[in-house]
C-alpha cells in the first residue's frame, strides 16, 4: 500500500476561497479538477419559522415555485435549458433557511448560475403553475399521512416542542396548503428573499477568481431594502415526564417508534461531546449500543439507531426503530434502559477511542464528492466554524472526554423525561 497522506487533502484556508460581495452575499469556493462537473449549493436565511400558523408550508411552497417561471423564462424554458445539458437545480424550504443545490458539467456552469439567479431574484409565480404545485403538495401530504416514519416523527415533534415552532411540520397541512394564495408567495419572496444571509458554495473544475466573478456578475447587483430579519426562536420547555403519543395508520405491517428529547444546537459548547456520545449510543458500527441490543441481540427491528439533529436551534436527540407493533413495549423498555445506562455511567475508554477514531477517519470519505465538499463549506459559514475547522477537527474530537459525554448526555437526556411516539396499525 502507498503511504496515506491522511489529511493533506482536507479543505482549509489554503484552498478555500471566501468572499463577501458588496451586497452581503457570501461566496465559498474550492476547486476540484478531478471531475468535469461542478456543484453549486447554498442557503438563504428565512424559512418556515416565518410561516403564519394558518399558512404553514408557505416557505416550502415559495421555494418550490421559484423554478415555475421567472421574468425572463417560462417553466418549460427553465427546465428545457437545465435538462437539455443534463444539469439539475432544486430548492427546498427548511425551518430556518431556504436551501438550493444544483450540478452541471463545468462547460454549462454559466447556464446553471443564470437560472439560479433568475429563480431566486425574479420569480413570477404563474397562477397556473401555483395551482399545479398545490395539487402536488396535497398529494405529498396524503402520502405523508401513510408514512409511519414521518407520522411518528411529527408526533414526536409535537411532544418535545409543545408551543414551539419546531412542533409544526414545515410542509404544512392540507388546510394550510389550501389557504396559501399567490399573494402569500409574492409577499414571502419580497420580504424574505434578498442578498443578506445568502451563502453560495461552489465546488468544481474552475479557478477561484473565476468562481467569485461569476457569482458577482449574476447576483452582485441584487438589493432588497425590504428584506426582513429572521425571527428568534422562543425558549423551549422541559418535558414534564415520560409522555407518549401514537398515531394509528390502518393496514401497516411495521410500526415506527421515536423516543428522545431536544438536543443541543450546532453551536453549543457541548455539541461535539453530544455527537460523539450519540455515535456510541446508536450509530457506531451497526448502530451502536441501541443496534446491538434491539437488532443484534433481540432481533426486534431491521433498523434501530439514534440521531442528533442539532442545527441552528435545538434539534431532536432521538432514537428510532422500525418494529413489529406487537413488540413495541419490549423495544421501548430496552431503549429506555439504554438511555438510563447512557446517562448514569461514562462510556467506556474503548467506546470513546472507537468513536473518536471513526470521526477522524471518516472525514476524508465525507469529502469525497463535490456535493460533500460543498456541504462542508456551507457548514463552516452557517455555524461560524472557521476555515481551518476541518484541519483542527481531529484535535477537537480527540479532546472530548468521557466526562464531557456523560455531562452532555445528562444535560439533554433523562430516562424519566422522554417523549415516546409510535405510528402504525
Amino acid at each position: 500500500m502507498s503511504a496515506a497522506h491522511a489529511y493533506h487533502s482536507l479543505p482549509g484556508p489554503q484552498d478555500i476561497t471566501r468572499r463577501q460581495l458588496d451586497n452581503g452575499i457570501v461566496v465559498l469556493f474550492r476547486a476540484n479538477f478531478n471531475s468535469p462537473s461542478v456543484v453549486v449549493s447554498g442557503y438563504r436565511s428565512a424559512g418556515g419559522l416565518s410561516d403564519p400558523e394558518d399558512r404553514l408550508g408557505r416557505a416550502e411552497f415559495t421555494a418550490q415555485s421559484l423554478l415555475r417561471g421567472t421574468q425572463r423564462y417560462t417553466f418549460q424554458e427553465l427546465y428545457d435549458a437545465l435538462e437539455s445539458v443534463g444539469a439539475s437545480l432544486g430548492f427546498g424550504g427548511g425551518a430556518h433557511t431556504t436551501s438550493f443545490g444544483g450540478t452541471a458539467l463545468v462547460e454549462d456552469l454559466d447556464l446553471l448560475l443564470d437560472i439560479l439567479a433568475q429563480a431566486i431574484e425574479h420569480p413570477v409565480f404563474p397562477v397556473e403553475q401555483v395551482e399545479r404545485l398545490r395539487t402536488q403538495f396535497l398529494t405529498s401530504l396524503a402520502i405523508r399521512a401513510q408514512d409511519t416514519a414521518r407520522m411518528a416523527s411529527m408526533a414526536f415533534d409535537r411532544l418535545v416542542y409543545a408551543r414551539h415552532p419546531y412542533s409544526l411540520p414545515e410542509d404544512g397541512f392540507p388546510e394550510t396548503i389550501q389557504a396559501i394564495g399567490r399573494p402569500d408567495l409574492l409577499d414571502f419572496h419580497r420580504l424574505g428573499y434578498g442578498p443578506r444571509g445568502l451563502v453560495i458554495a461552489l465546488v468544481g473544475a474552475i479557478q477561484p477568481q473565476q468562481a467569485v466573478e461569476k457569482i458577482d456578475r449574476i447576483l452582485g447587483s441584487w438589493r432588497n431594502p425590504d428584506q426582513i430579519a429572521v425571527p428568534d426562536l422562543p425558549p423551549l420547555q422541559r418535558l414534564p415526564g415520560v409522555i407518549t403519543d401514537s398515531v394509528t395508520i390502518p393496514g401497516k405491517s411495521q410500526a415506527d417508534l421515536v423516543i428522545g428529547a431536544a438536543g443541543p444546537n450546532r453551536k453549543a459548547a457541548d455539541y461535539l461531546a453530544a455527537s460523539l456520545g450519540n455515535n456510541i449510543l446508536g450509530q457506531f458500527g451497526l448502530m451502536g449500543r441501541i443496534g446491538e441490543v434491539v437488532r443484534e441481540k433481540a432481533g426486534l427491528a431491521y433498523y434501530a439507531d439514534s440521531s442528533l439533529g442539532g442545527g441552528v436551534g435545538p434539534g431532536p436527540w432521538s432514537i428510532s426503530a422500525g418494529i413489529d407493533p406487537a413488540n413495541s413495549e419490549r423495544v421501548i423498555d430496552l431503549i429506555r434502559s439504554e438511555i438510563r445506562r447512557f446517562t448514569n455511567h461514562r462510556v467506556t475508554v474503548d467506546e470513546l477511542a472507537d468513536s473518536s477514531a471513526h470521526y477522524v477517519g471518516r472525514l476524508p470519505l465525507s469529502l469525497e464528492s463535490n456535493y460533500g465538499v460543498a456541504s462542508a463549506l456551507l457548514a463552516l459559514e452557517r455555524y461560524d466554524l472557521g476555515l481551518d475547522y476541518y484541519q483542527r477537527y481531529p484535535s477537537l474530537v480527540q479532546s472530548v472526554t468521557r466526562e464531557d459525554i456523560l455531562a452532555a448526555a445528562r444535560h439533554y437526556l433523562d430516562p424519566d423525561r422522554l417523549a415516546i411516539a409510535l405510528a402504525g396499525s
Binding site: 496515506a4 435538462e83 437539455s84 390502518p250 405491517s253 471513526h358 469525497e368
Partner: protein, 431 residues
Amino acid sequence: MPHTVTRYTLPNGLLVLLQEIHTAPLVSHWMWYRVGSRDEAPGMTGASHWVEHMQFKGTPRYPAGLLDRLISRQGGYWNASTFLDWTVYFATMPSDSIDLVLDLEADRMVASQFDTADFEAERTVIISERQGSENEPLFLLGEAVQAAAFQSHPYRHEVIGSLEDLQHIQRDDLYSHYRTYYRPDNAVLSIAGDFDTALMLERLHQLYDPIPVGGPPPRLAQPDPPLDQPQEVIVEGPGETTYLELAYRGPAAEHPDFWPMTVLDSLLSGASSPSLFGGGISNKTSRLYRALVEKEVAVGVSGDLLATFDPFIYSLGIVLPPDGNTEPALAAVDAEIARLQDSLPGNDEVQRALKQARALFAYSSESISHQASWMGFAELVSGYDWFATYLDRLAQVTPQDVQRVAREYLLPEQRILGLYLPTGEESELDD
C-alpha cells in the same frame, strides 16, 4: 477513461479489476458474487439477501462485534446489497487501513459460521425489513407487477423473498446456498483508489490463492417466453393515493437494444443513471411529464430501465392526484407511446439524451467509490467494456433505433398494468 484499469484473474478464477486513483487517501473495495434472487428456487426466495445479512455475523477470526468495530474505527464505510443478479459487499476506507478489508473479505468468502442463534435472530430482523417495505404502496404494487411479468423466471419474486419462505427457510439450507455461490470463480473484486497495483496483486495472491476453485454453480434461470396477453393486477391498500405501474419486458444489459431503450426511457420519462448509485435529473421536459403532469392528469411520472443479466422489465410509474382517474392517465401514456412508435423522434432529441447521459455519467464517476462500483457492476451485468464503451454505444443510437425498440418492446398486448387503489382509510391520532 482517465485511469488505467488492470483486469486480472487469479489461479482460482477470482476476477480482479484494479484502478489506481490518487486524488484522495482512500481505497474503495467491492466484492461481487454472482448470486441474487435470480438463483432462488421457490421455497428459498430471499435466501441470497439473508446470506448477505449472515455475512456480517462474523467468522472465527473476525467475530461479529470485532468486524464492525475494526472497520468503523478506521473511519471506513461499509455495507452490502443484494439484487436480482448479484450480491455485493463494499467498503471505502482510508488507504492505510485497506488491508483490514482485504483480509476479512477473503476470510468471509469461506469461513462464515451461520450460528443457529444468529440465524434465527436474523430471521426476525429480515421479516421486520420486509414489513417496513410492505408499508410502502409502491413495494406492494411492484411485487405484484413483477409476479405477473414472469411465469417461471425467478425475477418474478422480490429480492427480499416471500414472507412464507422467510418463515420457513432453515439454517442448513441457507448455509448450503452460501457454500454453493460464494466461490472465487463466481466472484468479481473491483478496487479503486490510492494503492499500488503490483503490491495489491501480490497481497491478493496471498489472501486468495489458498481458496480452491469452486466450479460453476447451478443456474436456475431460463428466460421466460414472451407474454402472450396483457395483464392487469390490482392491489388495494390504505391511503388516498392511486399509483399506476406499466411494465413491459425489457432487454438484458448486454443486448444491443439496451442502448436505444436507454434513449427511449430518456425521451419518455427523463434521463437517469444506470449506475448503482442511481441519480438523475428532473424530468419536467420529458414527453410523459408534459402529457401527464402538465395536463394535470397525474402529479408525477418516472421510468425504470435496470441493467440486468437476463431480460427484466421496463416500467413506468405514475402517481395520480387526489381523486384522479386512471383512464385519462392511461390514455395519455398510450398516446405518447403510439407517437413514439408512429413518428421518428428528432435527431436533436436523441442528441439531447446523449448529452444528458454524458453529464450523468460524469456525476456517477466522480468519486473513488463510484469508480470501483462502476467497474464491478458492469462486469457483473455484461463485461467491463460495458462501462468503458457506455457513452460510445449510446452515441451510436439513431432515431430509427429508438422507434424500432418502441415498436418491439412497448406492445400493448404484452403489457402488465398494475394499479394500487387506495381504500381511503385515514390515520388517526390516539389520545
